[in-house]
Amino acid sequence: MGTLVLEGLARRYGATVAVERVDLDVQDGELVALLGPSGCGKTTTLRMVAGFVPPSAGRVLIGGRDVTRAAPHGRDTGMVFQSYALFPHMSVGQNVAFGLEMRKVGRAERERRVTEALRLVRLEGLADRLPRQLSGGQQQRVALARALVVNPAVFLLDEPLSNLDAKLRAEVRFEIRALQQRLGLTTLFVTHDQEEALTMADRLVVMDRGRVRQIGNAEALYERPADAFVAGFIGRCNLLRGALESPGRFRAAGGATLPCAPGAAPADSVLALRPERVSVETRGEGLPARLLAVTYLGAQTEYHLDLGGTKLLAIRATPAEDDPRRALAPGDAVTVHWSPAEARLLPALPGDLVEEAA
């Protein structure tokens, strides 16, 4: 295994910028997720690492070696494709052996390593099947084995879970992470699913429209988002446009004045407040609010609130059966409260879509 370094990597198609600039160090054995909505450039970045897309600028270094101009077959990366990309005319064993064959590994050694790789992904005994005879989850594991068997310096995963159903996805997520940690694989992982990225990655790179918005671990991104886009993309978040009225007091566009963290705020700032940090009480201190809707979701309950013209979402653990909050209905008056430090002022980059609480 080795390290992966991206230096000022960019890709333009004519006037269209697919990737503006990515700088990234992936440590030996680290799993880094590229996370963002579709069209953010994450897949293009991965494909530049694999060599399928030539960069317009910047460098790719794998294990310290500059491979920016190397062909895909000379890069020593192991990629797992979203569609799995198994060879339909080869058996599972032949699929897994393909990379070893290309490396001119001898027959006996090849068979040993194929068997070992299939055991690793728990597909012993299926070597003679054709890919179409396997379930989606099994095909996915064949694709993993095929990429792993050649011991690539860098492991690349392109939305490997998006074709699995929800139940299987949680399971495979766990498996891939365990495998990656056990084998110490240097991994770059592309996904649009924040839960997937949070669960699996050591560090996350949040991308949007070709730009890197923030790099950090799950906690850093969730607790200290760099801007409104990151706050809205990682977890749910109330994002309110407005302006600072006085230190610690934010006047939201809707009309309400809300307590917030002290600090300077630019003109186009946004107040970011996590819905689960907003407490809802039937009485007591806090801001008065009116309930627009209550949605029971089992473990949690969503409260859609109106604070004098400003809409706010609160998510609380569903109150116990005997709690008066259990009986709350649309139209009821409640008081809401949050620690001012939880209400952060964040810059909204031009073009960011700042919405009402989802």
């Binding site: 694999a50 399928f52 062909a71 077959h73 990629m79 494709f81 060879f87 339909p88 290309m102 990429a147």
Partner: protein, 272 residues
């Protein structure tokens, strides 16, 4: 539910009608070929293989059959690889220029739409001029005939292989490259095997198109070197009897067998 039953019966009738219409002459010719009398009367007076024996005795048919096989085989062997390369080039060589690719595809429909006798005339006139220039025979030679038939096979091949190419998951090729395969290895080990249905269908249809071609061939065959369809036409000019039905039946059986065998390996109705 009653209405749907009537509708289903109507459907079955329409299908039976269309098939009957399309297949009736073919069935008729098979039946005629085994009837004893020259002008069929009903009920038939007896079955016979006399017309088949008759066809066998006319050596033009046997010679034509062999010539047709040779030409069809040679034309397919040249045209299918060429057409496959062209299909790859059209679908792969133009990057993001989708408009151009569409234009190339439409242009390739052109030859399908040029009347066979027009193309034959064109080739004949072309060959006449070319002979004048290179001062050697072209028309009337097997080489000239094969060259002409290659033109028949290319559009079919390009169309069938293009269809396969468009359904092909390119990431399999990328996976092969990622695993260390050089471009040529990727082609032979991954791309070509994945195109197999299209290529097999192209071989079959190229062969059949060449084998059955009359229009393009008519003007280009030399004396004593005729293909089977031309031999049949020549025979017709002086005599009409069930011998022709026997020859036709043999051809129908051959082509039918070829299609059935191919269908075992590649589901034709899905590819074509």
């Amino acid at each position: 539910m009653r209405g749907s039953r009537w509708r289903r019966m109507a459907f079955v009738l329409v299908v039976a009608g269309a098939y009957g219409l399309v297949l009736a002459p073919v069935l008729a010719v098979v039946v005629i070929s085994v009837f004893a009398q020259e002008i069929v009367s009903f009920p038939p007076e007896g079955f016979t293989l006399r017309w088949y024996a008759n066809a066998w005795e006319k050596r033009e048919f046997a010679r034509g059959f062999v010539t047709s096989l040779q030409v069809a085989f040679a034309a397919s062997a040249i045209g299918v690889p060429l057409g496959t390369a062209a299909a790859l080039a059209i679908n792969r060589g133009f990057g993001r220029m989708d408009g151009l690719r569409g234009a190339m595809n439409t242009l390739l429909l052109g030859p399908l739409a040029v009347p066979g006798v027009v193309a034959g005339t064109a080739l004949y006139l072309f060959y006449v001029r070319a002979e004048f220039w290179i001062d050697d025979d072209i028309k009337g030679t097997t080489l000239g005939l094969v060259a002409a038939h290659v033109l028949l096979t290319i559009p079919w091949t390009v169309r069938l292989v293009s269809a396969s190419l468009q359904g092909l998951d390119r990431s399999a090729e990328e996976a092969a490259a990622n695993l260390g395969a050089r471009p040529l290895t990727v082609f032979w080990r991954v791309t070509l095997p994945m195109l197999r249905p299209g290529v097999v269908a192209a071989c079959l249809f190229s062969f059949i198109q060449s084998f059955e071609n009359l229009e393009l061939t008519l003007l280009l065959v030399g004396p004593g070197r005729v293909t089977l369809p031309v031999a049949m036409l020549n025979y017709l000019e002086f005599r009409v009897d069930p011998t022709l039905a026997a020859v036709a039946t043999v051809q129908i059986v051959l082509v039918g067998a070829l299609m059935l065998i191919t269908d075992r390996f590649v589901k034709l109705s899905r590819v074509v």
